[in-house]
């Protein structure tokens, strides 16, 4: 079972992120001579893409999202016509003052990721847990899509 077909136009939306990542890599190579590249989130643009693992189990899907240091109230998970969307904003810790900043490699700002689920899931039983910087979403498959074993009698 495939999750989604790769759509090149979908990738276009992540181009700014890619460019930003390249810039970040350069900055770290040359000792981060420039200041931060963070967005204050006000633009509403998604500036970073958290890494995601999705696995399929017999009765459910597990979606794991790397979101270190996020406030769980700043994350919103929605399911709309079988499209799972995870969006949110990572804010900088309050004890950090700009004048004392020496190096800034961690990313801040808003993000959004969407996935089309391959099968119907039980919307009412979707669960999410945030632990040690990982958001774990569990989506149980709807009864009708669970694999059934059909015994065929050979006559």
């Amino acid at each position: 079972m495939r999750l989604i077909r790769w759509n090149p136009t979908r990738e276009l939306s992540s181009v700014p992120t890619e460019l930003w990542n390249i810039q970040r890599d350069f900055n770290s190579l040359f000792g981060a001579m420039t200041g931060g590249n963070q967005d204050d989130g006000s633009s509403g643009l998604s500036l970073w893409t958290p890494a995601v693992d999705i696995s399929e189990h017999e009765n459910e899907y597990h979606v794991k999202v790397e979101l270190p240091g996020i406030n769980k109230d700043d994350v919103k998970i929605t399911l709309e016509s079988n499209i799972l969307t995870i969006r949110g904003e990572k804010k900088q810790e309050e004890d950090v003052k700009e004048e004392g900043m020496h190096r800034m490699e961690r990313v801040y700002g808003s993000f959004r990721r969407s996935f089309t689920l391959p099968t119907v899931v039980k919307e009412s039983e979707i669960g999410a847990i945030y632990k040690d910087g990982i958001l774990m979403i569990t989506l149980p498959k709807a009864e009708e899509v669970k694999p059934k074993q059909i015994e065929v009698k050979v006559k």
Partner: protein
């Protein structure tokens, strides 16, 4: 205070690391470094690290941070997306003089490791009143 002494804290840190990493499966965690009047604070993203598998070591003016990732998937699963890479985290920083290395403290919360490196007495910023 000037920012000149800050580089000493992190100088060559990432370069030395790059050489090491080419041989081993480590992820270099992103780090923020900031300074307060009494300390330097390192903040590193270690999402999914096992709390009991995080090691912060100070040895010969080097601070190293290691973290082991929790097992990502149970066996017998069909992986549809795989972006979370690696088995462990590793990063090293060179410490500058004027740090109280015996008083370094670390805290791990929500996948973020904060390491507070207090400045030694002579390095702390003191406000001098004008008489």
């Amino acid at each position: 205070m000037t920012k000149n002494n800050d580089d000493a804290l992190v100088r060559h840190g990432s370069n030395a690391l790059a050489v090491r990493e080419s041989r081993e499966e480590f992820i270099t965690p992103a780090a923020d470094i900031f300074e307060t009047p009494i300390a330097f604070v390192l903040r590193l993203d270690l999402p999914g690290a096992a709390r009991d598998g995080i090691q912060v070591n100070v040895e010969a003016e080097r601070l190293s941070i290691k973290g082991r990732l929790e097992k990502l998937h149970a066996e017998k699963t069909n992986v549809l997306y795989h972006e979370i890479a690696g088995k462990s985290y590793y990063r090293m920083f060179n410490l500058t003089a004027g740090i109280a290395s015996d008083r370094i403290e670390a805290e791990f919360q929500d996948g973020v490791l904060s390491v507070t490196i207090p400045k030694s007495e002579r390095m702390t910023t003191k406000e001098i009143r004008i008489q």
